[in-house]
């Protein structure tokens, strides 16, 4: 029973047969205990070692080559992945910037134009700067074709920054037809204009005057308290508010549109 097992092991190894048989014969004869095991051990050791030593070299060399190539390949892949991710990220940021900027504008209240502290709630909390008195002069103009008599009711008024002030203009329509006027205003010096805040006035909206009618037009305004802290405004003592009235013309009559019935 022992011999066939050993021989079977043997038959697997073709190169070692002669050597092993000699060894096996030597081995088999002397010892009595564990012959089978001893022989098996011995053969296995010798066969195993040889096989391993033979195959390890081949595999190692090809393994090294392929592993290096694989390493390069994987490195390339990771680099390419990072670059692709960065590209996709940039595209995503550029798309996301539109709503993000909108949110930022809503939060900071800039709305595209940087306004120097023009806040509607400021009126309730501002304190007048009593030591800085500014003279506001008023000017009224009309366009050449505008027939209204338009003039201010006070030539000047002395205000301090942070205090709300009221001023009046008067307009009279001497014609026999109702005239619609629209006005715009101007503040000189230009730099001081950013501190000139109007709470309510009569500009930018159509104002209709019936024939021979005369009305008082108020302007309710204040000068921003930060006016006192601006170094560029240190020498500004006079601000001129100038209104100009234009005649609002009727809308242009359109030529009859094709396919649209007028009734």
């Amino acid at each position: 029973m022992l011999l066939p097992c050993v021989l079977r092991e043997f038959s697997r190894c073709s190169t070692l047969s002669m050597h092993c048989s000699r060894v096996l014969q030597q081995k088999l004869q002397p010892s009595e205990r564990g012959l089978h095991t001893q022989a098996q051990e011995f053969i296995a050791r010798r066969i195993g070692l040889r096989l391993k030593s033979q195959t390890r070299g081949i595999k190692n060399r090809s393994n090294k080559r392929t592993s290096q190539e694989d390493e390069w390949k994987s490195k390339n892949k990771t680099v390419l992945t990072y670059i692709a991710a960065a590209g996709v990220g940039m595209i995503g940021i550029s798309y996301a910037s539109v709503p993000l900027y909108r949110l930022y504008c809503q939060a900071s209240g800039l709305g595209g134009t940087a306004v120097a502290g023009h806040d509607a709630d400021q009126v309730a909390t501002m304190t007048p700067v009593k030591d800085r008195v500014i003279k506001i002069t008023f000017n009224a103009d009309t366009h050449a074709s505008m027939q209204w008599n338009f003039r201010p009711q006070q030539s000047e008024i002395y205000v301090v920054p942070g205090e709300t002030a009221l001023a009046f203009y008067r307009a009279r329509n001497p014609t026999d037809k109702p005239v619609i006027g629209i006005s715009t205003y101007n503040v000189v010096p230009f730099d001081a204009g950013q501190y000139f805040n109007k709470i309510q006035c009569f500009c930018f909206e159509e104002q209709r005057l019936n024939p021979k009618e005369e009305v008082d037009m108020p302007v309710f305004f204040y000068i921003d308290p930060e006016f006192d802290e601006d170094p560029r405004m240190a020498r500004v003592d006079t601000i001129t508010l100038s209104y100009t009235f234009f005649e609002a013309k009727e809308g242009q009559p359109l030529p009859p549109l094709p396919g649209y019935s007028y009734k």
Partner: protein
Amino acid sequence: MSTAMNFSSKAFKPRAPDKGSFPLDHFGECKGFKETFMKCLRDNSFDNSMCRLQSKDYLQCRMDNQLMAKEPLEKLGFADLKETSPSPEDKDAKE
């Protein structure tokens, strides 16, 4: 003036008023208050800080006659005048 093509200086940008436009007082409902205010200005050599009570009265008249949107007086900058002349409307505005 504002359209002068100045190269370096800033151009003037007209801004819309905060609370919009005053409706015209066609019937002269608040003319009396306006006359009081103008008289006060002339007497005080056009010093606005002396005539704030009259301007407050004028605006109050406008609010009462539907010529102006009703606003609490603090929003119009008359917070210091409220202590001197309290009225039931002011008390409502405070609440």
